[in-house]
C-alpha cells in the first residue's frame, strides 16, 4: 500500500507554522511513500514538534547538498588527504590491465569529437 504525501505547500510561509523553513514554498513535488515510512516520518516530525513538510524539506535539502557537493567538491578527511598525498608522491605505474585496455582501445576505437 502506498500513501500520498506532499513535500511542499503553496503560498508564502514567512510567518508560517512552527518549524517550517523560511521562504515561500511555491513548487509542489508530489511523491508517494510506503505506508510504514510515511508513518515513521509523521512520528519523527511529531517528536521534533515540526510540520511534516518542514521535516521532509530539511532532511531532503541536506541530502541534496551532499549529493551535489560530492560531484563538484571533495573535502578530504585527514586520512584521505594522507592517502592522496602518498599517491601523488609515489604515483603507481599503469597496471598491465590498464596498458592492455589502452592497447585494445587504440586498435578498435577512435574519438570523433
Amino acid at each position: 500500500m502506498m500513501q500520498a504525501a506532499t513535500m511542499a505547500t503553496k503560498g508564502s510561509t514567512k510567518k508560517s507554522k512552527r518549524g517550517r523553513p523560511a521562504g515561500p514554498a511555491k513548487k509542489r513535488i508530489n511523491t508517494r511513500f510506503p505506508e510504514a515510512l510515511a508513518e515513521k516520518i509523521e512520528y519523527a516530525a511529531a517528536l521534533r514538534g515540526v510540520a511534516i513538510a518542514s521535516f521532509i524539506q530539511e532532511a531532503v535539502a541536506e541530502r541534496a547538498d551532499q549529493v551535489i557537493e560530492a560531484e563538484s567538491r571533495w573535502q578530504l578527511t585527514r586520512d584521505e588527504a594522507a592517502a592522496v598525498a602518498g599517491l601523488l608522491a609515489k604515483p603507481p605505474k599503469p597496471t598491465r590491465k590498464m596498458l592492455e585496455a589502452a592497447k585494445l582501445a587504440s586498435r578498435h576505437v577512435h574519438i570523433r569529437d
Partner: protein
C-alpha cells in the same frame, strides 16, 4: 577503420534504449546527461559501432567533469600542496549496456576516459583522476586498473596525474587511423 567510435552524446544516440542493469546510471543517462553537457556541467561520451546510423545504439558511456579537491593539511604531500582547493578530473559515471558485458567495452571506455583526463590535466592542470564507483564490484573493477581507494573499502578511488601517462594512444578523427603509438 576501427570498429568503434567515441562520440559526444547527442540526439543521434538512442538514449531510451540504453540499459546497464543499474537504474540510477540508466536514469542519469536518459534524463540528465544531455542537459549537463549542454550547460557545461559535465561531458558525457558514448561508445557506438563506427558504422551505426541514428538512432545509434549505445554500447556504453562515461561522464567526466571537473572537481575541486580540498584538504588541510596535506600530510606528507610532495612539496606541500596549497590550502586552496586544487582541480582534478572526476569520472562520475561509466556504464556498459548489459547485452555487451564481457567484451572489453568497459576497458575501452576507461582507457578513453583516462586519455581525455590526461589531456585535460596537461592543458589546464589537475592532480589526477577521481572515480566514483557505483558499488563494491565496480570499485574492484577500477582497482584492477590501478585506481586506489582513498580509504579501505571506499567507493571513491583516485589515480594521480603521473599515472595517467603511458600506454597506447587512442586515435582521433572521423574514421580513426591505423596509426598506433606504442
Amino acid at each position: 577503420m576501427s570498429t568503434f567510435a567515441i562520440e559526444l552524446l547527442s540526439a543521434a544516440h538512442d538514449r531510451a534504449g540504453f540499459r546497464s542493469g543499474l537504474e540510477s546510471v540508466d536514469r542519469y543517462f536518459k534524463e540528465t546527461a544531455r542537459g549537463h553537457l549542454e550547460k557545461g556541467v559535465s561531458i558525457t561520451r558514448v561508445l557506438v559501432q563506427a558504422d551505426a546510423s541514428a538512432p545509434k545504439p549505445v554500447l556504453g558511456y562515461f561522464t567526466l567533469s571537473g572537481i575541486l579537491v580540498e584538504a588541510r593539511p596535506w600530510p606528507g604531500a610532495p612539496k606541500g600542496l596549497p590550502k586552496q582547493p586544487v582541480p582534478a578530473v572526476l569520472l562520475g559515471r561509466l556504464a556498459v549496456a548489459s547485452d555487451h558485458h564481457g567484451k572489453g567495452i568497459g576497458s575501452m571506455l576507461l582507457a578513453t576516459a583516462r586519455q581525455l583526463a590526461h589531456e585535460t590535466i596537461t592543458r589546464t592542470g589537475g592532480i589526477g583522476l577521481v572515480v566514483d564507483a557505483a558499488h563494491k564490484q565496480a570499485a574492484e573493477f577500477y582497482s584492477r586498473f590501478g585506481f586506489m581507494p582513498v580509504e579501505p573499502g571506499s567507493l571513491r578511488l583516485f589515480l594521480p596525474a603521473k599515472s595517467l601517462e603511458g600506454g597506447a594512444g587512442i586515435p582521433r578523427g572521423q574514421r580513426g587511423s591505423k596509426r598506433r603509438c606504442r
